[in-house]
């Protein structure tokens, strides 16, 4: 395969978006045990809000990005307070379905405000191409990769050393014990949603800068499941590595299937086939917590 290197590099760029979305997913799951099927829609909302501030309101990019972050935090707080908190203690299917319902609502709202046509982000970064391994690569991809890496490092440090981060880990480990040590569980839940929204917002803006955005962007929330499962549902490192790996796997499989089998659009299916294999042999992923149970 002559384009192998190209596929791998594009895959890494795609994977860094996956990593960000997976990071948001894992943060919510770790702290609240909620499986968020609306993660992709949070990405989409972030991208559209940023688009609205930058293009429609004409603000400079940095200002609109900060405003977008504030908006997503408010949105996340509202979602947590209105939809998820009444469902604490309900069976897992209810929680899954409420996030699915929410994703439908968010998608419809975005469609009502902005329509279903593609939207183009303005050029944020200078139009520079960098050569990596003899391959011209737009600077956006490199920026996406670096940003994903940076966010991952920041959140790892946050969880390891900051007071709030430790409190979140404690909540994830044992809610009852954490509550009795004086940690406000509800605040932790709200905070984990905020962080997830911020991370997805970064993901959305990166997608917007790399390509144009449309209302199918929310689909990425489902495509990220292989990455999350590969890394383990509750591991940040797993989310980051899993995202990158699945991105590369998708692009390489897509290229290979196109070249040798003449099949189009095989990438997504390849990652889901891979997901089934992982679930069969190592369901808790590379770094996830294993729940051992013998029947």
């Amino acid at each position: 395969m002559e384009h192998l290197l190209e596929h791998i590099i594009i895959g890494l760029a795609l994977g860094s978006v996956y990593s960000l979305v997976a990071l948001g997913f894992v943060i919510i799951y770790k702290a609240t045990k909620v499986v968020n099927f609306a993660q992709g829609e949070l990405v989409m909302v972030g991208a559209y809000i940023c688009f609205a501030f930058t293009v429609q309101a004409g603000l400079p990019f940095v200002a609109s990005f900060l405003l977008t972050l504030i908006f997503s935090v408010i949105l996340a707080l509202a979602i947590e307070r209105l939809a998820l908190r009444p469902l604490i203690g309900e069976p897992i299917i209810s929680v899954i379905m409420v996030t699915i319902g929410m994703s439908a609502v968010l998608k419809t709202l975005v469609q009502l405000f902005w329509g279903t046509t593609k939207k183009n982000f303005p050029e944020v970064l200078p139009d520079v191409t960098v050569k990596i391994g003899g391959l011209p690569l737009e600077i956006e991809y490199i920026a996406a990769f670096i940003l994903a890496l940076l966010l991952f490092v920041i959140f790892s440090l946050f969880f390891k050393y900051s007071r709030k981060g430790v409190a979140m880990r404690a909540t994830a480990f044992d809610q009852l014990a954490a509550a009795s040590m004086g940690i406000g569980i509800k605040n932790i839940f709200a905070m984990s949603w905020c962080i997830a929204a911020i991370v997805s917002c970064f993901g959305g803006v990166i997608v917007g800068v790399i390509q144009d955005i449309n209302t199918d962007l929310g689909h990425v929330g489902l495509l990220v499941f292989p990455a999350v499962i590969l890394g383990g549902l509750d591991s940040l490192l797993g989310a980051a590595l899993g995202g990158l790996f699945i991105g590369v796997l998708q692009k390489v499989c897509e290229g290979a299937a196109h070249e040798y089998l003449g099949l189009g659009g095989f990438g997504n299916v390849a990652s889901f086939l891979f997901l089934v294999v992982i679930l069969m042999i190592k369901p808790y992923g590379l770094f996830g917590t294993e729940e051992i149970e013998r029947v």
């Binding site: 299917i93 409420v98 994703s103 439908a104 609502v105 998608k107 709202l109 009502l112 499941f225 889901f272």
Partner: protein, 361 residues
Amino acid sequence: MQNKCGQFFTSYRQENRLFKTWFERFWLLVLFVGLILYPLCFDSYVLQLCMINIAIIAAVSLNVLTGACGQISLGQGAFVGVGAYAGVWFVQSGAAMLPEWMFVVFGGPFIPAILCGGLVTALVGMFFGIPSLRLKGIYLAIATLAAQFILEYVFLHWKSVTGGHSGMAVPAPEIFGYTFDTYPRMFYLTLACAVLMVYLATNLMRSKPGRAFVSIRDHHLSAEIVGVNLFWYKLQAFAVSAFMAGVAGGLWAHTARYLTPSPTFGIGLSISYLAMIIIGGLGSVLGAVYGAIFISVLPICLDLLAELVGGFFPELATPIKATKGGVFGLVLMLFLIFEPEGLAHRWRLIKAYWKLYPFAH
């Protein structure tokens, strides 16, 4: 099961009846007479009624798996798709594989093909059910999500069977030389199948496998301890559920008469089936029926509303139609937050209220 005060059974036969009182039987009869007369008297919404019948079969099938056995499936839409394609294949190319006596007994290839389509779907369902032994809750949900995406890809790319992107036309079904080529005729066929499937599901739930499913849902360890073979019964749940979904798919193909794989059998369909059983009430067969009707009628009502409002404010008609997905999501969320036990539970409360009225306590 709530019965009237003062209703005394003198034999097991009376107690085992599905409809225990004359009152219930009478109104059920009225309902069916009404349904049978409807296509004769009116000609609007008959196609929608057919689709409601099919949705009822699919929702009841998912209810066996998710509501009764507790195995979350995000792939039911794809299973319906497998049934649709397999059913059509058995009618057209695969008819030669069916034994001769089936054509004689069932009056043509249609009924055997639908049944074989169901069996193929059951095999596919069992295959994707195998991970359920090791996986629970969210992991199983994600595994079935993978099944959904993989099957959808197969629909799109196995061109010789499915016709690929462009889809394929389906001939009208024929039983004993009678062609079901109009929507009213299809309505009777789908209604009969829906009644049969609801009857089967109801009886399944009150027999040994049904009880085993419920015990697995409530606590899988205790179920295993009292002698329920987890793997076998989970596979059974997947097989039965997929079989019924496959039958629903076969009927769908022959009602729509044209099959396109995506987004017809996409993730959206799977989600709407899950929404049906949740809104109706998890684990209750009747609830799945209510839920299927509710979710199928919702977009029709929105269209009517759009027409009505559009008469006064023409610029509002399109936005109202565009909110279908959002209204669906909102209704789902509101039900989960305010009425998690669904329409079936609410209906029981209403009945109890009127039974005791005006002496509520």
